[in-house]
């Protein structure tokens, strides 16, 4: 009967209840959409960075990530590969070696990062084989060939077929030099990458830079972002048993790209601060509704108390009423927010010139697709729910201070 009473009570003033629900729904829907939007862009950012740069997990020699010293190697990559094969949650892996080197074309010389990649493995882990704009990706038995980013190709004045000279220092300190032919030109959309790196086959790299069998990074892709922590744990444990003379470490994408991870956190936090401000404004604007509900009905509460209704029961009734309003608002907000998000999720959002330009800076090109997920659907409305219920606590507890006589004589 309490439920029935609460239900009927909230509809005593349809207009007011409806407006309150709409206010809550508005906040809920907005948050669903915004969070889906943010999560969607984070996912794209992470995926594109992971696919182009680091993979989800890497095995490196300890200290390599900070110093990028050519001497800090993974001496026996096949042993690590054997471990990865047995690690659950790993989808694919590949080997890479990297060093800084001078690259000269006929006209130009630049200092850039030269990356040795395993043609077969790389194609499974990174997107590079899919983003070749000119020329072709490496064949499996590629030898003296190179892939260059679009901007680097422009800077060096080269096209597929042109020759490049690499000049650097081998792992043993010797001079390392070779000539490669440009096989393909790629565009990742991330300027820094397209301007600052050049890929050659791993075998050639190992040969030229005196690496032997060693590599610098064993790059692994997990089945999903969520599978990373567990895979990392398993991997770390297995690596300690490998018994290399210099310990190997497993690093995840957050450690490999701290800027990306923290940047996302900052964006999320600053978003959350704004959402909290918004919810507080909503809370104050609906507080009146909840408060009025008790002052208008003071005499009624007096009668109920005279009948023996305890203050606790009145509190319960009021909380039930505000929860009903809140829950209806929240559910409405989730539905509207979900539908709007879903609509854009299918079609994508075109944010227009200036915004796209900024997004491109973060590795998001073209349309943006918000990602409706359980988290984005529930987090915002959850926060609204909590703050709204806290708001309704004040009137609901205020009613405990009512004394029957005063309530009965209240005008």
């Amino acid at each position: 009967m309490d439920t029935k009473m609460a239900w009927r009570n909230i509809w005593r003033n349809r207009r007011r209840t409806f407006l309150t629900m709409t206010a809550i729904a508005f906040a809920g829907a907005l948050l669903v959409f915004m969070l889906s939007f943010q999560f969607g862009s984070y996912e794209v950012m992470i995926n594109s960075a992971v696919k182009i740069h680091t993979g989800h997990l890497q095995v490196q020699a300890e200290g390599y990530n900070e110093r990028k010293d050519i001497r800090l190697v993974v001496p026996d990559p096949e042993a690590v590969a054997a471990v990865l094969e047995k690690t659950p949650g790993i989808e694919a892996y590949t080997f890479r070696a990297t060093t800084f080197s001078l690259v000269s074309s006929r006209d130009r010389t630049y200092g850039i990062a030269v990356i040795g990649i395993d043609p077969k493995g790389e194609a499974r882990v990174s997107t590079i084989s899919d983003i070749i704009r000119e020329g072709e990706y490496f064949s499996d038995d590629a030898t003296s060939q190179a892939l260059v980013g679009e901007l680097l190709a422009r800077n060096l004045h080269v096209r597929p077929g042109d020759e490049l000279t690499l000049l650097g220092q081998g792992r043993d300190g010797s001079i390392a030099a070779t000539v490669v032919a440009v096989k393909g030109v790629y565009r990742s959309g991330q300027d820094e990458f397209d301007r600052g790196a050049l890929q050659i086959p791993l075998a050639l790299f190992q040969d030229v830079f005196a690496m032997g069998e060693a590599v610098h990074e064993v790059v692994a892709l997990c089945t999903s972002l969520g599978a990373v922590p567990e895979a990392k744990g398993t991997l770390s444990a297995a690596l300690t048993r490998l018994n290399e003379n210099r310990p190997l470490v497993a690093l995840d994408w957050k450690e490999l790209m701290p800027g990306l991870y923290q940047g996302i956190s900052i964006d999320l936090i600053s978003g959350l601060i704004m959402y909290v401000l918004l919810i507080v404004v909503v809370a104050f604007s609906i507080l009146n509704t909840f408060l009025m509900a008790i002052f208008e009905r003071t005499r009624e509460f007096g009668v109920m108390m005279a009948m023996g209704t305890t203050p606790g029961r009145l509190t319960k009734l009021l909380l039930m009423e505000s929860s009903m309003i809140t829950i209806f608002g929240i559910v409405g907000g989730m539905i509207v927010g979900g539908l709007v998000t879903w609509y854009f999720q299918v079609d994508g959002i075109n944010l227009g010139g200036d915004v796209s330009e900024i997004m491109r800076e973060f590795g998001i090109s073209g349309r943006l697709y918000p990602q409706l997920s359980l988290l984005s659907l529930s987090f915002g409305p959850g926060a609204v729910l909590i703050i709204t219920l806290l708001t309704s606590l004040y009137p609901a507890l205020r009613v405990r201070r009512f004394r029957p006589v005063e309530a009965l004589t209240y005008v």
């Binding site: 407006l19 200092g111 701290p258 923290q262 918004l278 104050f284 408060l291 200036d354």
Partner: protein, 406 residues
């Protein structure tokens, strides 16, 4: 009389009036503070970028920007000097630089950098570098072997002031030129990327190393009044041969320009969203207020009060609520921005993340008068607009309705 009546009416229920006023206060406050934070952030980003090396305007040889090599330099800067002498407003500063990609190395490490050859004296007036030196000292004008390096690079190279570095770059004859320098000082910059990217030597040393003669890569200038940027650019452009590119910082920093251009709409959207959130409260509160007095309004109508007067009365009440909320909200908003502006919001603890999203190390929230006006107009005008609904309701209560209402 009307005013007095409306004022007394809103204080018939002080609790309700207080609560809705608080809603408006929180709303207006958050509008101003978030707006000021965003403005302060972008202003700081612009200032940093301009001070780092951009300046207000840059002049290049027209091939340089797409292919920044020594070959594409301004071989004889005389034309530029003349144009600058004629068109620069009083109080401007300018400096000429050699700026090319290079490789820096020591015994253990090597990496790609941007080599900047500067004229220490004029550079000090245009860019950040002189004040950014933290260890050692700034370049002397006659020091042709000194080099300034960023702190991050020094750390990475495990080196320090007094030690040697070798620079390599392609000279005008397309040969690899190399030369040893001694670190005279290290600098800190707003962004770690800047510390890793740039090394500074004397312009004459760079020209000699690259066999560039008198050639320079760019001229960067700093105007006393930033509003005149476009005008100065046009004048310089007109007086220089077409082989020169003259660009303002807006053209040189497309990302920041993009941020700037979406700022206005972004802030406006935030204002609207906050307003909608409190708009529900305003409408609800006013509805309650008029329904409570339904008998009163019914009676007034019965007495022949014109509907318009009733509408006016209700609007006046909303007017007071809004004005109070706005006054206090603005006061709090200004106060918090003032305090935050004094202390600045230090984001350096956020480290790499702040750098990744391009945030400066310290944000000084800045109130833009245009934002304050927009925020208040939004709240006031839309606030009154939505009150028309309860006001119209009140004007249409018939005496019968009024009496039927308990």
């Amino acid at each position: 009389m009307h005013l007095q009546l409306a004022w007394r009416n809103i204080w018939r229920n002080p609790r309700r009036t207080t609560i809705i006023t608080i809603a408006v206060v929180v709303g207006v406050w958050s509008m101003l503070v978030v707006g000021a934070l965003d403005r302060g952030m972008i202003d700081q980003m612009v200032r940093n970028a301009i001070a780092t090396l951009t300046g207000d305007i840059q002049i290049h040889h027209d091939g340089y920007r797409s292919d920044p090599v020594i070959e594409n330099s301004i071989a004889d800067p005389k034309d530029v000097h003349n144009a600058l002498a004629r068109h620069l407003p009083e109080g401007s500063f300018w400096t000429a630089r050699v700026r090319v990609n290079a490789i820096v190395s020591n015994a253990r490490y090597s990496t790609g950098v941007t080599l900047v050859g500067i004229d220490p004296e004029s550079e000090a007036r245009v860019s950040f570098i002189k004040t950014a030196v933290v260890d050692g000292h700034y370049l002397a004008s006659d020091d042709t072997t000194g080099i300034l390096v960023g702190r991050a690079l020094v750390d990475k190279f495990e080196t320090k002031v007094g030690h040697k570095l070798v620079l390599m770059s392609q000279d005008t004859e397309r040969e690899i030129a190399s030369r040893a320098f001694r670190i005279t000082g290290t600098f800190r910059a707003e962004l770690e990327a800047t510390e890793r990217q740039f090394v500074f030597v004397n312009k004459a040393a760079a020209q000699e190393m690259l066999k560039a003669g008198n050639g320079i890569s760019e001229v960067s200038l700093f105007l006393p009044d930033h509003e005149t940027v476009d005008m100065v650019r046009d004048k310089l452009k007109a007086s220089l041969p077409p082989a020169y590119e003259v660009e303002t910082w807006r053209e040189l920093l497309p990302i920041i320009t993009a941020y700037l251009s979406i700022m206005d709409s972004w802030i406006f959207i935030w204002y609207l969203v906050v307003f909608i959130a409190m708009g529900f409260g305003i409408v609800n509160t006013m509805l309650m207020a008029v329904f409570e007095r339904i008998r009163e309004f019914g009676l007034l109508t019965a007495l022949g009060m014109k509907p318009w007067w009733i509408i006016k009365g209700v609007l006046l009440e909303a007017f007071f609520l809004l004005i109070m909320g706005m006054a206090v909200g603005n006061a709090f908003g200004f106060a918090s921005v003032f305090i935050l502006n004094r202390t600045g919001i230090d984001l350096s603890a956020l480290g790499a993340g702040a750098e990744y999203v391009g945030l400066p190390r310290v944000i000084y929230p800045t109130v833009y008068i245009q934002d304050v006006i927009t925020a208040n107009v939004v709240v006031f005008v839309l606030g009154l607009l939505i009150t028309i609904y309860p006001a119209a309701k009140a004007s249409r209560f018939t005496p019968v309705e009024a009496l039927a209402h308990i």
